[in-house]
């Protein structure tokens, strides 16, 4: 199995968690798993077997190493941003969960929807 398929499988697991779990914290865990799978997906797009870090050193420009064995740096840079965004969403969601719990004394979405 290649990493792309694995990351899609993990994405589906996360989606299952978000959709089917009743506990709010478990839903957030599902969201985090989805985020992680996207990170894996992007990194595996840019991966080259035996690739080097894409740093041009003095003297290797022009002749030296062919570009194909460099790892694509762009997805890695993108994923740094995506990880930061994911963390801020998770932090906001957890802060909301704390507030919701202090108001309703429950984290079960079935019971929450009954409350008025």
């Amino acid at each position: 199995m290649n990493p792309v398929n694995i990351s899609l499988l993990v994405f589906m697991i996360g989606l299952y968690g978000v959709m089917s779990k009743n506990n709010l914290i478990k839903k957030i865990m599902g969201l985090t798993i989805m985020n992680g799978s996207i990170v894996l997906f992007f990194i595996s797009i840019g991966y080259r077997k035996g690739g080097l870090a894409p740093i041009l050193e003095k003297g290797t420009t022009g002749g030296g190493i062919p570009t194909t064995i460099f790892v694509d740096p762009l997805p890695q840079a993108l994923m740094l941003t995506a990880i930061v965004i994911g963390i801020s969403v998770t932090a906001l969601a957890l802060a909301m969960i704390v507030k919701i719990y202090s108001k309703y004394k429950t984290l079960d979405i079935q019971q929450l929807s009954k409350e008025r």
């Binding site: 792309v4 994405f11 996360g14 989606l15 978000v18 709010l24 839903k27 969201l31 989805m34 985020n35 996207i38 997906f41 992007f42 797009i45 762009l74 997805p75 993108l78 941003t81 995506a82 965004i85 801020s88 969403v89 906001l92 969601a93 909301m96 969960i97 507030k99 919701i100 108001k103 309703y104 929450l112 409350e115």
Partner: protein, 493 residues
């Protein structure tokens, strides 16, 4: 200076947002001032954009596929005008609310600047980042009163929105894997070349992005978050959510369907038919659910699903007339729905209840506000002198022209249902008050009178806009024209 205008439009509210946090006295001046500066900057570009020019700005001077560029064409100019204009009115409307502190204006300004970012950027990952920023601020704005219901509504929006944006990002990943670039226009250039070798991946990325945006614009099966979020939020935020934020999702969908996946998807899965079917389903669902609502703001929220259905139908027809109608209806819906939410905010503050039945006799206390409400709801139904009629008429004409006569019947049925639920509200508003209730009236009246100027002027401006666009539809259509011609130049010949 003049070449830096596109980035200044985004930076001005963003800078003001952080300055607002430092000051207590000048927060309103800063907020309105920065949005006015953005509007002035935008209007300096109007002559160039309206003549069909495309303005590109490369951030940091890095061109093309390497750097991020901001592109202002007819389409993005049109949407940014809606966002900025309504944003200004929302800020003015929030002034009388004393308990809205600095963080409220901070969040409002960040959300407006990220909206402009989503609209202008030509880099699809950057679009995701701005959209996520916009969503974060929106979750916080909905939960701003910190009551139990708003927290719950905001949380369910957060879950749905998070899933939607994850889908979008995965779709972007597929696009990057195929084309190796993130610039929307470069992807559109390179996609036909890889289409035959990896048809399934193209299809996958289209489905993922369309589903993600479908959650954001609440098309029928994915609408679960909308009624709660739109109805529980504070009234100015409801107007912003329903008038602008949902339109940003539509903007992304239009960009993706018409610019990125233009020709090849059309032949493969007929994405236009999908849009049309989704439109019809949301139209009928939204209309019939709104009919059953007792809560005034919840009724307006379901009405949003109804009107977005009409927009999707217009986009799905895809002819010049259909696109004109759809984009014009986006403008009209933004104006009308924010009028309605502004009015609903005053009604709820004054009568002290959210129930439609509780609004008895409001028409006698505040005739001007009631008049504005009636104008906007006539527009929603689609009755001739008001703007909603023109856009619905254009979409119906386009449907007949393209041979979908059934669609006309469906739009008419939905309009009839809309008439049923809006007339019910109007009837309650105009009726004689059942009994004189001295308790809530006194306190509420004082509050309204102090902020009357700021609360009612946005409503009058918007209601005048409704009538003006209804009487002189060429005014709106001339704004829509460059966007339509841009879309048609990228679509299938």
């Amino acid at each position: 200076m003049s070449i830096h205008i596109p980035i200044l439009i985004i930076i001005s509210p963003l800078l003001a947002a952080f300055l607002v946090l430092l000051t207590r006295k000048y927060k309103i001046v800063l907020a309105t001032g920065s949005i006015i500066i953005s509007i002035v900057f935008t209007s300096t570009l109007s002559s160039r954009v309206l003549s069909g020019d495309k303005i590109a700005y490369h951030l940091g001077g890095w061109r093309g596929p390497l750097g991020i560029s901001l592109v202002i064409d007819g389409l993005s100019f049109f949407f940014s005008l809606i966002a900025l204009g309504l944003g200004l009115l929302v800020i003015i409307y929030s002034i009388p609310e004393r308990h809205y502190g600095r963080t409220y204006y901070f969040l409002l300004l960040v959300s407006l600047s990220s909206m402009i970012g989503v609209i202008y950027t030509a880099d699809i990952f950057n679009m995701y980042v701005f959209y996520e920023l916009l969503s974060l601020t929106m979750y916080l704005l909905i939960a701003y009163p910190k009551t139990g219901v708003t927290l719950r509504a905001s949380f369910s929006y957060l879950i749905m929105g998070g899933v939607g944006l994850s889908f979008f990002l995965l779709g972007v990943g597929f696009l990057y894997a195929m084309t190796g670039t993130l610039d929307i226009f470069h992807i559109a250039e390179k996609l036909p070349a890889v289409f035959n070798s990896s048809t399934r991946m193209v299809l996958m990325s289209f489905v993922l992005i369309a589903t993600g945006m479908g959650i954001k614009i609440a098309v029928f099966p994915l609408h679960g978050w909308l009624p709660d979020a739109h109805s529980m939020a504070p009234s100015p935020v409801s107007a912003l959510l329903s008038g602008v934020t949902v339109k940003i999702g539509i903007y992304c969908l239009i960009r993706v369907v018409y610019t990125v996946f233009s020709a090849e998807m059309f032949f493969l899965i007929n994405s236009h038919n999908i849009l049309m079917v989704l439109g019809v389903v949301s139209l009928l669902f939204g209309a019939s659910m709104a009919l059953a609502q007792k809560d005034l703001k919840r009724l307006l929220a379901y009405s949003t699903i109804n009107q977005l259905g009409i927009v999707l139908i217009g986009l799905g027809i895809g002819t010049e007339l259909g696109l004109t109608g759809a984009l014009f209806h986006i403008l009209n819906h933004a104006i009308m729905k924010s009028t309605l939410f502004f009015c609903a905010g005053i009604m709820i503050a004054e009568t002290g209840t959210r129930e439609v039945q509780g609004q008895n006799g409001f028409g006698r206390q505040q005739p001007a506000i009631t008049f504005a409400f009636i104008i906007a709801s006539l527009g929603m139904i689609g009755i001739p002198p008001v703007n909603g009629f023109t856009s619905k008429w254009l979409i119906c004409l386009a449907a007949v022209e393209a041979g979908y006569v059934v669609l006309v019947a469906i739009i008419l049925i939905a309009s009839a249902i809309a008439a049923a639920y809006y007339f019910r509200v109007i009837q309650v508003l105009l009726s004689v008050p059942l009994k004189q209730d001295p308790m809530p009236g006194h306190e509420g009246e004082q509050m309204i009178h102090r902020g009357n100027l700021f609360r009612s002027w946005p409503i009058y401006i918007l209601a005048t806009g409704c009538l003006l666009l209804g009487l002189l539809p060429t005014l709106g259509i001339s704004l829509v024209k460059p966007a339509v011609s841009f879309l048609l130049s990228h679509a299938v010949p």
